[in-house]
């Protein structure tokens, strides 16, 4: 990662550093890391933690940074009761002004009040359902105009407009499915079913039966963790006796399934279509270099994914911003951050000062037999985040889908 342009705001001195007090006299900056590496979505948590670790080790080794990060790691174990206490301890007792963490929106929303109270910054790097813009959060994951909208723009003209929606019973599934419903209806399509499973539930048999009956064109899977794995496995099993479950006939699609989980899902993931702002199969020099670093650090068998890479980038963004402004105070860091333009494995990365969100380049990928994502569509340029879908018009979307459907028909003929 190389900074393209970084204004030198240090005025030739490290005066700001001295004012940090005893905790920072040694140039050691405590960094809160809050990921669930145990519990139902532990694979994602582990990918995030590894990404942070890789970034942190690079920063601490690099003499360019006159400071080092001291990791303060906690594992809430996907148990919502632990998030608040852990983050409060990081902020109050361990002097953290930055926490990189949380995967689910429940987790994030749980700790936002305490982050605001201490005027700290939360670095959130997972895809989420949008409709949030907190001054004390930096959002580097995709929001709806960067995940579900491009995914459905790709799918509806190609696979049809009868859609089945499934999800885990919480805000991510509910809201992403609501947006999906709006997109489907605006395109003149139909949501033929919508079902939710309790968190960590593996009771998927009824879901499979209902999908069999409803004859959807594709299934949007917003289940998380073990529920998702159980569902994909049962879906794959159903395809043995019922060809309608074959991925070429009725694919399962997702906004949050990545390489981090593919190994655990196995052949059941083949044919699955997902959108992400990064796939390990991207061939850019930054991406190839990053993959080599992941291999060197975690071994050749370690799967790289958007979670790993984006957690790594979050640490690098934070380090670059602190380097630029000479302080870890949240306002100064934000100001410096908004000026940064970094070449990262995602491409050119910028954080928009109007929304605190990253401009991102969504990709659509299909899981091949070798368990890697083959990119089937790439957005040419990074798209600015539109967390409240202000510049989105469902009618325009519908018109575009129908125009593309007509083109698709001509291609098929």
């Amino acid at each position: 990662m190389t900074p393209q342009s970084r204004p030198d705001r240090r005025d030739g001195s490290w005066g700001c550093f001295r004012s940090w007090g005893t905790a920072l006299a040694s140039g050691e900056i405590p960094l809160g890391i809050l990921y669930s590496v145990t519990g139902t979505y532990s694979l994602i948590g582990q990918a995030c933690l590894d990404g942070v670790r890789l970034g942190l080790e690079e920063v601490n080794r690099d003499p360019r940074y006159p400071f080092s990060f001291r990791p303060e790691i906690e594992d809430p174990g996907a148990n919502i009761d632990h998030y608040l206490a852990f983050s409060e301890a990081m902020l109050r007792e361990r002097g953290c002004r930055h926490i990189i963490g949380t995967i689910t929106s429940i987790g994030r929303k749980e700790i936002i009040p305490i982050i605001e109270k201490y005027d700290a910054l939360l670095w959130y790097m997972c895809p989420y359902e949008g409709f949030e813009c907190c001054e004390n959060v930096i959002y580097t994951g995709a929001c709806p105009n960067q995940h579900i909208v491009p995914l459905f723009r790709y799918l509806l003209p190609r696979y049809g407009k009868r859609v089945y929606l499934v999800g885990s019973n919480y805000i991510w599934g509910w809201e992403t499915n609501r947006t999906a419903r709006e997109l489907v209806q605006a395109s003149g399509g139909e949501v033929v079913g919508e079902k939710y499973l309790a968190f960590a539930s593996q009771d998927v048999a009824r879901l499979i039966e209902d999908i069999r009956e409803q004859r959807a064109d594709f299934v949007l899977n917003n289940l998380v963790g073990t529920s998702s794995y159980a569902f994909l496995s049962a879906y794959h099993e159903a395809a043995r006796s019922d060809p309608s479950f074959a991925p070429e006939s009725r694919p399962v699609v997702s906004c949050n399934l990545t390489e981090a989980e593919l190994d655990s899902i196995g052949p059941a993931a083949t044919g699955l279509i997902s959108t992400a702002i990064y796939f390990d199969s991207l061939e850019s020099p930054e991406s190839l270099a990053f993959r080599r670093r992941v291999e060197a650090r975690f071994g050749a068998a370690r799967r790289n994914s958007v979670y790993l890479v984006n957690a790594y980038i979050a640490v690098k963004l934070l380090a670059e911003a602190i380097l630029a402004c000479g302080s870890d105070e949240s306002e100064a860091v934000k100001k410096a951050l908004f000026e940064l333009v970094l070449e990262t494995p995602l491409g050119t990365t910028r954080i928009d000062s109007a929304t605190n969100h990253a401009a991102l380049r969504p990709y659509i990928g299909r899981v091949a037999a070798d368990s890697s994502f083959k990119v089937v569509e790439a957005t040419p340029q990074p798209i600015a985040a539109d967390p409240y879908l202000v510049d989105f018009d469902a009618r325009d979307f519908g018109a575009e889908v129908n125009r593309r459907s007509a083109m698709q028909l001509r291609v098929v003929k």
Partner: protein, 206 residues
């Protein structure tokens, strides 16, 4: 099931009737993120630009005469900005006809839902008011309906229910409410409604 349309405030203008301080600038910044531009005014709003779609106001320091409209009848959704929870303050704020509120200090969380709730409940209240006004008009015209039923009976339809059915059918045909039809009907137009054979018997008494 129809999808709940994503609320969109792109291009909205709002007025914030409050001293401009850091909290209010945070509010303005959050509003900008929804595509809303805002103008500050304090201590008084002299007039309301017709382009303004909603008004946020200081519920803690608000006073009678703050708004350029009759108390309790805002032409746009009103959103109170409150720190105080004193019943007297809440009473005053309620009397202004608020549609939602935001607790001060204003944070980024809550602004969007306050605007969604306010615009929704304002639209709902307006719809209800229009419906109540229409019902009031119909209620006022009820005596006209009785007069017309009696007139039709006098003209020869001796059954009360049949007389009413006759009037109702005529009103529907003209796409009018029964009340509006009755208010304009006279014996000549009523006679035209009646079955042929009954007309003569009514004429004598008319």
């Amino acid at each position: 099931m129809t999808a709940f349309r994503t609320p969109n405030f792109r291009g909205w203008q709002v007025v914030v009737l409050h001293r401009e301080d850091a909290g209010m600038r945070r509010l303005a910044r959050q509003l900008e993120r929804f595509g809303v531009t805002c103008r500050f005014a304090w201590p008084k709003l002299e007039s309301l630009d017709p382009a303004v779609k909603a008004v946020f106001f200081d519920g803690d320091s608000g006073y009678d005469g703050l708004f350029p409209w009759q108390a309790g009848q805002p032409p746009v959704p009103l959103i109170a900005l409150m720190r105080s929870e004193a019943p007297g303050r809440l009473e005053w704020v309620l009397a202004q006809g608020i549609c939602s509120h935001l607790v001060k200090p204003v944070q980024s969380t809550g602004v969007y839902s306050a605007l969604v709730l306010a615009s929704h409940s304002f639209a709902q209240a307006q719809e209800q008011e229009a419906r109540i006004a229409a019902l009031k008009t119909r209620l006022r015209l009820r005596p006209e309906v009785i007069r017309t039923v009696l007139a039709v009976m006098r003209l020869g339809v001796f059954d009360e229910d049949k007389a009413y059915a006759c009037i109702r059918a005529a009103a529907m045909e003209r796409r009018m409410t029964v009340e509006a039809f009755c208010a304009t009907a006279d014996d000549v137009s009523l006679r035209a409604l009646l079955p042929r054979r009954r007309q003569s018997s009514g004429l004598g008494r008319a």
